[in-house]
Symmetry: C2
Subunit: 318 residues, 2 copies
């Protein structure tokens, strides 16, 4: 019997799951719709029904030794999901719900933290002990690894790089405050920057024909590749702000690297180049040329499962 873990990632729309061995190979994976308006119990009923159906084909060869989960507003210490945005759940005692279906060691954290652990075990941060995973999706998250361990902080909620202030009295954020980094540096943030530039400049741009609610970061990227000045400026401004923020993180945490993950990271050098330039120009002399800025080594489609799995592998090694 080979030991494997079950990794589960709860997203706003879909929940993905899969079994993963110690080396980070996914034996099988599947997904179901999250249905966040229904009680969380229903999700886990449906999930384990589907999972058990599939797993019976593997149960002679593999043994599940732990369950790891990534979820929005998940608290590592309490093992609860706490008032997740977009899911009508309030507080959910996930550990108890999971135990009914699969009574093995269980751990949960938010998706950015899970991504950081996945990166360290199976991705671009293999062998690193001090780095910061930066996730650039609809919003912005981060997971901080210190001395080979996840930094959870006193409450379990550490790592909210998206909610440091980057512009005093800047853009309104979903958290209720103003000027948070994620209002500038995220798929939504770059879209807001495009609209600011469309308003302030008179440059022609293909983006002038797309309404706010339809504009995607992929369209901005494609426009930039075709030489669209507004789109290019939007990537530059976004990278500049990310570079400023990372410079401060270096002073505080002295990481070996930043690993950039998520949709916006797919823009490659379009976002990396201005970020790196701004960071290098502003780092303390001591750090110049020494901080790596690298792209995630996890496949976007597997990252969530691998991260959730890495979380429980880490617990099992403790």
């Amino acid at each position: 019997m080979k030991d494997v873990t079950l990794g589960i990632d709860i997203g706003g729309t879909n929940t993905v799951f899969g079994i993963v061995n110690k080396k980070g190979s996914i034996i099988f994976k599947d997904s179901i719709s999250t249905n966040g308006l229904e009680p969380a119990e229903n999700l886990f009923e449906r999930l384990f029904e589907k999972f058990n159906n599939s797993f019976q084909h593997y149960s002679k060869e593999y043994r599940i030794v732990g369950v790891g989960m990534g979820a929005p507003n998940a608290n590592y210490y309490t093992r609860k999901i706490e008032n997740p945005i977009n899911l009508n759940w309030g507080y959910v005692d996930v550990a108890s719900l999971i135990k009914k279906h699969c009574d093995v060691p269980f751990a949960i954290t938010n998706d950015a933290n899970a991504a950081a652990l996945g990166e360290m075990d199976f991705g671009s941060a293999k062998g690193m002990k001090n780095f910061v995973e930066v996730t650039l999706g609809t919003g912005m998250g981060s997971g901080i690894i210190v001395d080979g361990k996840m930094l959870y902080g006193h409450t379990g909620a550490a790592g909210e790089l998206g909610h440091i202030n980057i512009v005093r009295d800047g853009r309104r954020c979903g958290c209720g405050r103003k000027g948070c980094l994620e209002t500038y540096v995220s798929a939504t943030g770059i879209k807001r920057t495009v609209f600011e530039l469309l308003a302030s400049s008179r440059d022609d741009s293909s983006l002038r024909d797309i309404p706010y609610n339809q504009l995607t970061s992929k369209q901005i990227y494609d426009a930039a590749n075709l030489g669209d000045k507004i789109a290019i400026a939007a990537f530059k401004n976004t990278g500049k702000m990310l570079g400023d923020a990372l410079t401060d993180v270096v002073a505080l945490l002295s990481p070996e690297a930043f690993v950039i993950f998520g949709g916006l990271a797919q823009a490659g050098e379009m976002i990396f180049e201005p970020t790196r330039k701004q960071m290098e120009n502003n780092l303390l002399d001591y750090y110049k040329g020494k901080i790596k800025l690298i792209k995630s080594g996890l496949e976007e489609s597997d990252a969530a499962i691998l991260g959730a799995s890495a979380l429980i592998w880490h617990e099992l090694r403790k």
Copy 2:
């Protein structure tokens, strides 16, 4: 025989040392001038000559089981002092120099990190596992404790809260950059703020009679206590900027508390009140009312020795 450690703190002017037991009682302490223009070897020759003379009265009762040191630009990993400002030493292999005089386990770090460890073992942070020590002296430093351990980062240089950017293109800093937090929040920073306010306002102030090179933070504090508007505004502005910075640190690190140490912390509520107010107004909702802002519990005169001693006690427990 009772186990004790030797704690040494190298300052720009004086070097203090003392032997300390596990409970943080200083058995005896003394100091010598650092003489930073002479080679570091000379300092340690003089230090151990004086130390050995004193220690012979204690050597029947106490056994030295380790040496801990706090020093400017000290690197925990390499155990070297690296190009310290104000000391004409270049790179000093402190571990080798100490070994000649006292061949027991040795550890070194910068003074803010040592203060954080001293605070955790003997001061206001007893029992805490996640907090940030903020030192407000001529400059500003910090030591970050995560899960009961010092956060050194990849290079050993983590914790430079004084060098995060707080004002884009702000005041020129000793590090060569602009707008670092310590150019606003430190004894020097508040002096600069006073001079800015003396220039911009027309309020009467006793501080208008004191030249820049003579003004101390103690004089600003005394003036504020007498109702001097400029001095009061300077403390408010300083606290506001510190509060902004701590708000970001909370989002990243989720500490239980900030412990404030150093000369400027002696101003008590004059600096704490505006800091706390700014932080509380700006924290993520989740953290409101939950982050402690407390004064160091270490006597200023003993803190350096206790911090250096705590460092090596921590190593010995590993």
